[in-house]
Amino acid sequence: MIHDWDSHYWMAKLPSGKWISAANHSSFEPIFQTATKIRIEPLSSLSAQAVLEAEVPDGYTAFLRTDRVEIVIRGPDAEQAPKLIYVMAMERGHWLEPGRIALSTVPLLDGFRAELRIFRDGHGEVDFISSDNFIYKADRDIYRFKRCKNASMH
């Protein structure tokens, strides 16, 4: 589902080569778990122009979340805080319903967590943490996350 507050949306490439997206699917549907590649893309030219992309290796589970930040009480620093955080995560192993898992309960053992943080002025920042065997490569505005044995942490 794409919301009116979204600046980005996800796409997933199925084994058949067909792409599905948040426009007509939810990432908690079983079909999403068959994807071999996932992307988070800007919705328009007004969105922060950052793309996250990852291959889904055999034996790994992909998780997508959109974290929303709501203000309870507002001080001046609230304007500098992100309002949306697109989370792309990968972890080795199998979960029965990964769309229903609280990501905070999935330890980072063999995988990565990437966050695209969208701030209130519209700009974005990308953060990435991983176990030793995932790396990222940035090519202009595309951040590619990839399994790489014995890679160092970034």
Binding site: S26, L64, D67, V72, I73, R74, G75, S104
Partner: protein, 202 residues
Amino acid sequence: MPVCIKRYYGSGPSEVDISGGANPIGLKLKTYDGNSNETYLFNATHPVPKPTIGNKHSYTATIALYSDVLGSEIYSDPKIYSGGVPAVPSPNPNGYVAWTGAQIFVADDTNDTYTQATGVQDDSGTEMVAQGLTASKTDLLATYNSSNMKSVGLVGGVASIGPLGSAQRISKYVRLQGTLSTSCSPGSTVPATIYMRYSVTS
């Protein structure tokens, strides 16, 4: 209204959307210094006076995440945190004072049972541990920030909730309380920021 933060109050309880920090009966810090010798927190109508001994407290505020988005979203990992203890700005045209002697506590325990706050109007709310709302509490501004968020838990203690069939509270109740000590400064404290964050699978 998509997902919002509601404050629950009174005996009912009544509820009001306080998302964005703009609602005056929400958790808004008072920016009024009536006689230049007291610090006020939380409640613009019935401010907490500066104590001459010990502490005085605001009435405990009860908040939670609420959603009326039906049939499409799964929620998980609700959290609360702050922007830290704000420094006095320079220049300081509003005459804000530091948070010395003033704190906002968050109850360590969250639950699904609403309990109305008690206290003495225009004097002090009942301290949240003393009222039995939680076994312990933590200084929110000094402890919880974007690198160290407090997990709140979903209603019913489930790992995720949704897609919803009807509008409902989705997080447990979180309780906040302002506390003043004798060392607090006269004037209005620098506005602080408190956030709630939650995950959506969509």
